[in-house]
């Protein structure tokens, strides 16, 4: 760190003085807040200093892609050794800057499609990984030791004063902006259009230093759209078990769904299976999740009272706008999302349910695969016991009674993994040892990259049945309960049949027939929508799916 920023040696406002100097250099170049697109790289070279901590906004969906490319075109003699602190590494320029030496150090959450190249760059010594975080952790560190000096963000529109409208995909912007703007950092926004008056102010203009109208709208990926046509009978069976064996049993009303086909199957049988069971109004009333199109039938049939979203989803804009009783909508009529609040809401909900790639005998699960660094995203925060929670709810208390059968009465968040025993290509989901251990060695990580720890997990649902880990009294019992639902995997075939029967008698292992799930009904016929077109029909034409999902 520059010596002049230390109070003992350079006064109390060195960050602010440094900020003023940067802004002076920037204004000398571009004259005002609005930056012509072709001057963007020059501006970045002027306001970014070597060694800066920098955030290039990259969320699940919205990406400051134009600014990322502009930075990648900067001269490495002028801009180098940057420390990148951003949630998602999703685009090629995010890594190009490491290849060229513009950046050196990286703290992030999730790498997704760039995971393979990131691993190669780490191996080549081009990227020093500080740590891989969950979203809330990284944002937490923005407000402690990793505050960005310069943040490059993306918004839908700006006015000439720099007021920003993010549209439905607000996502991570508020967290980045707040940390940067209030600690003498520089904020540069790319917008799709500069207008006279923004529809609503998501970021006040006096926090924003520069706006650039990007030549093309920022990149948005429809990553939460699951085509019901791809949901299988097996997934329907698992969804039935989740509804009867968990949602109905505990009375789960506040929850967070993962974004896979498994949880989409649950959403799509709420209006059919759960409705017939008389569960409307009793389960699934409040959700913390993106506006996944597969939620439409459940919303339309009156299951869901309210949804808060971390971000939006392409094609859902009009539908969401027209359902302001359910979604969080601005005065302008479009949704406001916010990843931090959504993560927070989900953390204190009654239940998280998601999928994973591997589970071991303690119930630890991981989505890590060899040769890739993928990271965590938000699942570990959603998928963990909320030990700071103090308010009661029927589901939380019911789970608590199972979890704490002696001593101090407590509540318990339900954390559920929903997996098939084998994945496509016949690789087993249940393993004695997670690949995460090898990954730790390969990439020199401090810990194996575990997504959800076994002691946070309460239930595993497979096509075979449900393992209720709350009712297991020892690690040995826990392992047997897991084996009992692991089907024909090696792990499953090594089950001790006697012990499994004992666990079943206790309710720690539950098979479909034990909870009145009729396997013969487990077919796609139960899905309220079996195609994207059906979702459009449910939405009364308000949902406008992206072209790639259409078949009409």
């Amino acid at each position: 760190m520059d010596a002049s920023t230390h109070p003992a040696r350079g006064g109390w406002n060195s960050l602010a003085r440094n900020y003023e100097a940067r802004i002076a250099r920037g204004h000398a170049l571009v004259g005002g807040k609005v930056v012509p697109a072709d001057r963007t790289t020059a501006l970045l070279e002027a306001v970014i200093e070597p060694g800066d901590r920098i955030c290039i906004e990259g969320n699940n969906q919205k990406h400051a892609d134009f600014l990322a490319r502009a930075l990648a075109e900067a001269a490495p003699e002028r801009v180098h050794d940057l420390h990148v602190v951003q949630s998602n590494i999703a685009l090629a320029p995010h890594l190009d800057i490491f290849e060229s030496g513009i950046a050196r150090r990286l703290d992030f959450c999730y790498a997704g499609p760039q995971g393979l190249r990131l691993a190669q760059l780490v191996a080549a010594g081009k990227v020093e990984v500080g740590a891989i975080h969950t979203y809330l952790e990284l944002y937490g560190r923005y407000f402690t030791d990793l505050t960005p000096r310069v943040s490059l963000i993306a918004a839908e529109a700006a006015d000439r004063d720099g007021n920003l409208y993010t549209g439905p995909n607000t996502e991570d912007t508020p967290a980045i902006v707040e940390a940067t703007a209030f600690r003498s950092g520089v904020l540069i926004a790319q917008v799709n259009r500069i207008v006279d008056k923004v529809p609503r102010v998501d970021v006040p203009g006096d926090w924003v230093n520069y706006v650039v109208e990007a030549p093309k709208p920022h990149y948005i990926e429809p990553i939460f759209t699951r085509d019901p046509a791809a949901i299988t009978d097996i997934q329907v069976l698992m969804a039935m078990m989740v509804i009867r064996g968990i949602y109905e049993k505990y009375g789960v009303t506040r929850l967070n769904h993962g974004i896979g086909f498994d949880t989409a199957a649950i959403e799509l049988i709420l209006p059919t299976y759960a409705e017939e069971l008389g569960l409307r109004g009793k389960i699934c009333r409040y959700m913390s999740v993106n506006p996944c199109p597969t939620l439409i039938p459940a919303i339309e049939s009156g299951f869901i009272d309210a949804i808060h979203c971390a971000g939006s989803e392409l094609g859902m804009e009009r539908y969401v706008s027209e359902r302001s009783d359910v979604f969080f909508i601005g005065r302008d009529g479009t949704m406001r999302s916010n990843r931090v609040y959504c993560q927070l809401a989900g953390h204190y909900a009654d239940l998280f349910i998601g999928s994973t790639l591997q589970i071991d005998l303690e119930g630890n699960s991981s989505t890590a695969t060899h040769a890739r660094i993928t990271g965590f995203g938000g699942a570990p925060n959603f998928g963990s016991e909320s030990r700071g929670r103090r308010h009661g709810s029927p589901a939380w208390l019911a789970a608590g009674r199972e979890a704490h059968r002696q001593g101090m009465p407590r509540g318990r968040k339900l954390v559920v993994q929903m997996v098939e025993t084998f994945k496509e290509g016949l690789s087993p989901t249940f393993v004695e040892r997670l690949d995460a251990w090898d990954l730790m060695d390969t990439f020199n990580m401090p810990l194996p990259p575990v997504m959800v720890y076994g002691d946070d997990l309460t239930h595993i649902v497979t096509e075979e049945g449900i393992a209720n880990l709350l009712l297991c009294d020892s690690l040995a019992e826990r392992a047997q309960a897991i084996r009992a639902v692991a089907g024909y995997t090696e792990v499953g075939r090594k089950r001790d049949r006697q012990m499994v029967e004992m666990l079943r008698a206790r309710g720690a292992v539950v098979y479909p027939e034990d909870i009145g799930v009729d396997k013969r009904l487990a077919s796609r016929d139960l899905l309220a929508a079996r195609s994207i077109k059906d979702l459009v029909r449910w939405s009364d034409g308000l949902y406008a799916p992206p072209a790639r999902f259409r078949n009409w």
């Binding site: 016949l426 096509e463 024909y488 013969r520």
Partner: protein, 106 residues
Amino acid sequence: MERLEFRFAGRPGTPVAETGEALVGVVGSGNLEVMIERVDLGGGCLAVVDTSIHGFGDTWQQVLADFVDRRGLANIRLSINDGGATPAVVVLRLDQAWAGLEEGER
């Protein structure tokens, strides 16, 4: 492709009561078709599996043995064309095939 054949004792000596067959499922990636037929096997059962994924003989053996056992089958021939289905899908199709055979006989 790998061909696997399994014989199960079933209920030895059981005479063939009726004839019939049922076909369920379609061969495709991650899917399979199962044909179930009543034939005279002296009370035993036979399964012939043609699968596109090699090296899962043990798993097939166990899945099929459980099925024969669970249903108490005799004189049943199972013919399977497999495009790499998971055991979950195999079990589902076996149950559907059995239901189809019984339905055809009603």
